[in-house]
Amino acid sequence: MIIAGDGYAYVPYQYAVCDDFISQDFHLGLLRVDSGGAYNNISVFDWSLPVGINPCEIPQFSEIGLITNADQGTVLTWETWENGSNQEYMAVTTGASASLVSAPQAPGGGQVVPVLQAQDGSFVGTAQDPNTGNNYMVAFDASGNVRWIVPNETPQIATADGGVIGQSGITYDQNGNATGQIGLSTQTWTGNMYQEAGSLEAMAVPSVFEAGASFWPTVGGNPSGNGTAFIQCPCLLQSTDTADPDQLESALRDGQAALMPQDQQGPTYLLLVGQPGIEYNAGQSFVLAAETASAALTQSGASSNSVPVLVSTVSDFAAALTGNGFITGGVTPLTTLGMNGPIAGGVTFFGHGGWLDLGGGVYDSALFLSPTRGSVYNLWIQNVGQLSNANLGTNATIVLYACNAGKNRNAGDSIAQLVANQLRRTVWAYPVDMWYSADPTPRIMLPVGRNADGTPIWPKVKSTTPLYMVPNANGVKAIPFYPH
C-alpha cells in the first residue's frame, strides 16, 4: 500500500476464482481510497488458466510493484504464470481506470519492480534474471520502454539531473553512465547525515537528497521511507502569473509607493527581491512576499522603515546593502526612498535558492538572483566576498526566504552560513523547499481540491498580498547561522 502523489491510498489485491473444473479465473485490482473514505475499485487485469490436477490449489501470485506516477496516479508491474512461462505486465492508472502498457523487458524476462521515479517522470527499478539470479537496475518510461540497464545494482535516490544513486554509492547520469562514487549514509529531511555503528553518529559528509520534481525520489518515497509520495519542490506545482521585468519593476514601484513609511525614526529594514526565474517563473510572488513583509513591519508599531528592492545581480545585492537600497546601475535601477541611516533592523531576501550544478557531482549552495545564467547572477561561495556589512547595524539580522538556503548538498557551507560569515551577522534560513500561501504557517503543501478525474488541484498563488513564502514542512523553523 502506498500514498501516491495524488493523495490517494492505493491497495493492490489479487484473487482467483475456481467455480468449475474447466478454468481458474484470476483478477488483479487496485483500491483507490481518499482520506474521507471514498473509494474506487479499479479493475486492472483478468486472466484465466486451464485447471490442473488440483483446480482449487492456492495459486502463487507475484509481487505487485507499485509506485506513484507523479500526481497523476500510479504505475504497477506484476508477473503471471501462463502457458508454461512467466508473463510480465505493466499498467498505468489515471483516475479510476487502468491501462495496460508494454512491460519493460529485463534480462532473462524477470519482472521489473519500480523503486524510484526520476525527475523527468521515468522510473528506475530492479529486476532479477529468473535463470541466473543476477540482479539489474532498470530505467524505463511510463510506456514500458527500457532506457538503460546496469547489472548488480539497486537504485536508492533519484537526482535532480535525471540520474540516480545506486546502493553501491555509484552515481549514474540520465543515461545510466557511472559518474562518481559517494558514501551513502542516512540523510534526514533537513540534510543531516547519520550512520549507525552500534551507536548513532552524526557525520560531516555531503547530503544526497536534493530538491527536484520527483514525487518518489528515494526508496520508500521520502527520507522517512514510510511509503508516501512527497514532492520536494512544491512551488513547481503552483501556477503563477508570469511577469516580464517591466511588469515586475512596475509592481515593485507601486508597492514601494503604497508602503512608503510615514515615520522614519525607526530602524531600517532592507527587503531584497530576486528575479522570478527561468525554469520555474515565480511571477510576482517574490514581490508580493516582500510587500507583505514590508506592510507587517510598518504596521508592527515599531516605526520601521522597510524598502523592497529588486536585485538581479550580485552587484545589485552588494549595492543594496551599502547604499540603503539605492542601486546606481544594474538591470533594474531603483531610487532610494529616503531610508533612515544604517540598516539597523535587518535584511530579508525573497527569491530562488538551491544548488549550483558544477558538474561531476559537485554542487554549491546559492541564491539565484536572475533569469540569466552565469555566476555573476548567482550569489555563492565564489562571490559572496563582494558583500559588505559597512551599512549594517550591529544587531541587524538577515533572513533568506529561498528554497534550501540553509542546506548545502556538498560538505561546504550553505549560502546562509556563507553570508553569515561574510557579513558577521546572524543569518536565518530554511533547510527545506518553499511554496506560496496567504497563510504563513509552516506546513506541507496539500491539494485544495480534485479535478473530475481525481487528480489533485494544488493551491494557486494569489496575485495580491498578503502572500508568504512558506517552508514545506509542518512547523519547521528557520535555522540561525552564526558567523564563524
Binding site: V11, Y39, E63, E201, A204, P223, S224, N226, N474, G475
Partner: protein, 238 residues
C-alpha cells in the same frame, strides 16, 4: 565542534534516560566552557581537546579552528557527535519528518526493542518500547505510527507515539470478528494530512498485501481512517 559553536550535552542512565543534578566540569574551560544550565551548554572557545565529565561519565570533545580548515568546515567523515543509545546497540535509524509537534531529527531503533527520538544536536528526547511492533513508521506530525500485536492476546492495534513526549495514545483497535478472532492489521500507510490507512483482514487468514494471497473467497478488506475527524471509514467486500 568549531570555534564559536555551541552544543547541548546530556548524561544518560543505563536505560537511556537523561540524568540531571550532576556536577559538570571541563578539563580546560579556555577550550570548551560550560554554562550553568543542568545539563550545561558547551561553547567552543578555542581549538584543542578537552574531556567533559559528569559524575562517573565523560566525553571527549575536539574543537577545530574553522579558519584553518578548507572551506571553513569539518573534514569529510568527521563524527560531529555520537549517541550510544541505551547500550543494547543501534540496529537501524529512520529520519523523522520535521514538525513543530515533534523534536526528533532521527529515530534510533535499539536491539532491545526500544526506539529513541534523537534531536539534531544528539540529545535523546524520549524512549519508547516498540518490541512487539512492526511496522513503526514516521508520521507527518513528527511522531511515529505503530502497528502493535499483543503477544498474549494476539490483538492487533495501531497507536501513535507523540512526537514531543513519546507518549503512546491509541489510534485504532478493531472489534473482534464474528467468530471471536482478532482481525489482523497491515500494511499501514501514512498520509501527510494525518490520516492513517490500514488494511484489515480476518484473524483467521493472512492479511492481504503486496504479493499476499487472501485465501478465502468470502474474505474482506477494510480500509480504516483513524486520524483527525474522519472516524472509521467504509469496509469493502469482494
Amino acid at each position: 565542534m568549531l570555534v564559536g559553536d555551541t552544543h547541548t550535552i546530556q548524561a544518560l542512565s543505563a536505560a537511556g534516560q537523561s540524568v540531571t543534578g550532576l556536577t559538570w566540569t571541563s578539563s580546560d574551560p579556555t577550550i570548551v566552557s560550560l554554562s550553568t544550565d543542568d545539563p550545561p551548554i558547551l561553547t567552543a572557545v578555542a581549538a584543542g581537546h578537552v574531556t567533559i565529565t559528569a559524575g562517573a561519565a565523560s566525553a571527549d570533545v575536539t574543537v577545530s579552528d574553522p579558519t584553518l580548515l578548507p572551506g571553513g568546515t569539518l573534514p569529510l567523515g568527521t563524527v560531529i557527535w555520537s549517541n550510544p543509545g541505551d547500550g543494547s546497540g543501534v540496529q537501524f535509524i529512520v529520519p523523522a519528518v520535521p514538525s513543530t509537534s515533534g523534536v526528533a531529527d532521527v529515530f534510533a531503533f535499539q536491539s532491545d526493542g526500544t526506539v529513541q527520538a534523537i534531536t539534531s544536536d544528539g540529545t535523546t528526547a524520549w524512549t519508547a518500547n516498540v518490541a512487539n511492533a512492526w511496522p513503526v513508521l514516521p508520521d507527518f506530525q513528527g511522531g511515529l505510527v505503530v502497528l502493535n500485536v499483543d503477544p498474549n492476546t494476539n490483538v492487533s492495534s495501531i497507536y501513535k507515539l507523540d512526537g514531543i513526549t513519546g507518549q503512546p495514545y491509541p489510534a485504532y483497535t478493531p472489534s473482534p470478528d464474528p467468530d471471536g478472532t482478532s482481525p489482523r492489521l497491515g500494511p499501514v500507510a501514512i498520509h501527510p494530512d494525518g490520516t492513517i490507512f490500514a488494511v484489515q483482514s480476518p484473524g483467521g487468514y493472512a492479511a492481504p498485501g503486496f504479493g499476499d494471497w487472501h485465501r478465502s473467497r468470502n474474505g474482506y478488506v477494510q480500509i480504516h481512517c483513524t486520524a483527525g475527524d474522519h472516524g472509521l471509514g467504509p469496509s469493502f467486500r469482494f
